[in-house]
Amino acid sequence: MLRVLATPLLAALVMFAAPAHAQAEKSASKSGFSLPATGPVKIVVFRPDVHVGEQSTGGLNEPNADWTAEARKQIGIALEKAQKSKSNDLVLMPELEGEQGVLLADYRSLFKTVTNAVLVHKLFPGNRLPTKKETFNWTLGSGTSQLAQISGGDYGLFIYTYDSYGSAGRKAAQLVGAMFGVGISSGVHTGYAGLVDLKTGELVWINADAQMGGDVRDAVGADKRVSQLLEDFPTRAGTAVTAAQ
């Protein structure tokens, strides 16, 4: 328990000491990758990892069940809309039981691990690996083809969002901090999305943002959030790369 407690506490302290990082939003994709020019593309959405809460004055996140449930709903609707506009078919990964459930849980965990490696060692500065500077080659292994069979999908889309809205107390502390010349951030809004080719297991695209916009608790905000999450999403072969919506 020691580290467990110390971590949020230290994190809270750090937030008072350090000014907010201006971390850029970043995306990357497998070199030369594009979705097939014609024919249907079926994208399986894995149950999005959604967490919404409120940030206390001291920086502790208070998970909020209502906000999270609403955000999960709104993000689902927004995702459906966004993919339809790209003429991709979207299906939800069903809840699985037994051996299939274990398989799915394994790949969810593996995706998280691989994504963390990409975030830490490729996308954001600090711990970038020299060997990964030029290339983008990560894979979950060809075993993902089992998930393609189960779901009937070509690609797997993973979504993660974490929101901690600054409480009134936090905002007050931010104001007082500014008077004393102490930079205090209020609110944490991060997220990422990744696309995996289920036939080969290759990670073909990833997009992460440490300072996301859009209030996920309502429809308009969720649309904005999803469009930010899907910024630079792979296009069909032959189409010009469009700028972010």
């Binding site: 467990v4 502790l60 998970p63 999270t68």
Partner: protein, 394 residues
């Protein structure tokens, strides 16, 4: 909320999950609300619902994890012990997940998700000791400790935020004091759960003294680890100011005192525990051997063998000595494997171990014969190709 302090990364991760959840009710509520084990209990305010939601997400992942032991017999046994301890009416509120990890701990989330680690099952010696652990964790649940700790951390860190504006180091000192009070609060809740565990033990008919015995054993094991590594025992080191749990020596003493004034009950369930764990000793000892903690493993094997060395324990001891591979260890290991086989061990791996140990002692021909036996006995073994090569070809 956990049973012991987490010194390992896995522990910390699981601990975070435990911390994130909680249940309702601050002290001083006018009406005593229903306890979380009550049928149909639902979290009652935003804090509690938020923590439950986070834990439900965590449980969704844990349920299908490869680390969860799904053996129906073992799960039924542990659940049965919990039900006997806290009562049939209450125990259905807890969902037990036996997690395959060789460390000593258990945890309880406020929504009723309980984790029992296999390293704990390897160390508790009887049903009463297991009951003491389950009772402690259930006590956290009933007393809504996760929620109370969550609120404590929030209010104290809020205070620390304002203290940070005080000049000349005054704020920093005050912050440190506040930080310390959070850990002290955590230790108080652990003591409360320990007190609960004694009450549960006696109501379940279990000898209450076994709760204290767990800590005595663990301290002896820590001594054994230290002696082998030629370092000072860490049994009294638990973080001091930043300790989440009371020191194990303190727990041992106050649990013994509580037990001596508790109603006398006599059940220990030694035989029942041994039977329930019979098929699990070997794999769990194997996990323990891989921790590369010779002293503790030898200690655990010795006390499991208390009433006599079985072929499984001898095999495990052979593995332990062969893995260490120090001066004379291969000869000793070969002896243990031979004893295991003489006692009727049919484990192909006993032949493999004997073969490998013999090769290292220079008895090449005998060693190869044993490895050939192994490959014959287990033709689909994952290491078949390697063993066949070491056997000089099959």
């Amino acid at each position: 909320m956990t049973f012991a302090s987490c010194r390992h990364v896995a522990g910390a991760v699981l601990g975070v999950m435990a911390l994130l959840t909680g249940t309702v009710a601050q002290a001083g509520q006018a009406v005593e609300a229903a306890v979380p084990s009550a049928i149909g209990y639902q979290p009652r305010d935003a804090d509690e619902r938020g923590l439950w939601m986070e834990m439900e997400e965590a449980e969704r992942e844990l349920r299908n994890s490869n680390f969860v032991v799904h053996d129906p017999a073992l799960n039924a046994y542990v659940k049965g012990v919990l039900c006997r301890t806290v009562g049939e009416m209450r125990c259905s509120a807890a969902r037990i997940y036996i997690v395959r990890t060789p460390y000593f701990n258990a945890s309880m989330a406020p929504n009723g998700m309980m984790q029992v680690w296999t390293g704990l099952l390897l160390r508790t010696r009887n049903e009463a000791q297991l009951a003491a652990v389950l009772g402690h964790e259930f006590g956290h649940f009933e007393k809504r400790h996760s929620l109370r700790l969550f609120r404590e951390v929030r209010s104290k860190t809020d205070a620390m935020a304002w203290l940070s504006f005080l000049p000349y180091g005054v704020g920093l000192l005050a912050q440190l004091g506040t930080l310390g009070s959070i850990f002290s609060f955590s230790r108080d809740m652990e003591r409360e759960a320990d007190v609960e565990s004694i009450a549960y033990l006696t109501s379940g008919g279990y000898t209450p003294g076994q709760a204290s015995a767990i800590w005595a054993q663990l301290r002896d094991e820590q001594d054994a680890t230290a002696a082998e590594r030629k370092v000072r025992s860490r049994k009294d080191k638990n973080g001091g100011f930043f300790a989440s749990h009371p020191n194990s020596g303190e727990r041992m003493l106050y649990l013994a005192a509580l037990a001596s004034s508790a109603t006398a009950a006599t059940r220990t369930g030694d035989a029942e525990y041994r039977d329930a764990m019979a098929l699990w000793w070997a794999p769990l000892i194997d996990d323990q051997i891989k921790l590369n903690d010779f002293g503790a493993t030898e200690f655990l094997l010795g006390r499991l063998a208390g009433s006599g060395w079985t072929s499984e324990l001898l095999y495990a001891r052979g593995e332990l000595y062969r893995t260490r591979g120090g001066d004379g260890d291969f000869a000793k290991a070969a002896g243990f494997y031979r004893d295991a086989i003489a006692l009727g061990s049919t484990l192909p791996e006993a032949r493999r171990g004997l073969g490998l140990a013999l090769l290292r002692t220079g008895a090449i021909e005998q060693g190869r014969t044993m490895l050939k036996d192994y490959v014959k006995l287990k033709p689909d073994a994952g290491d078949r190709a390697m063993m066949a090569m070491l056997a000089g070809g099959i």
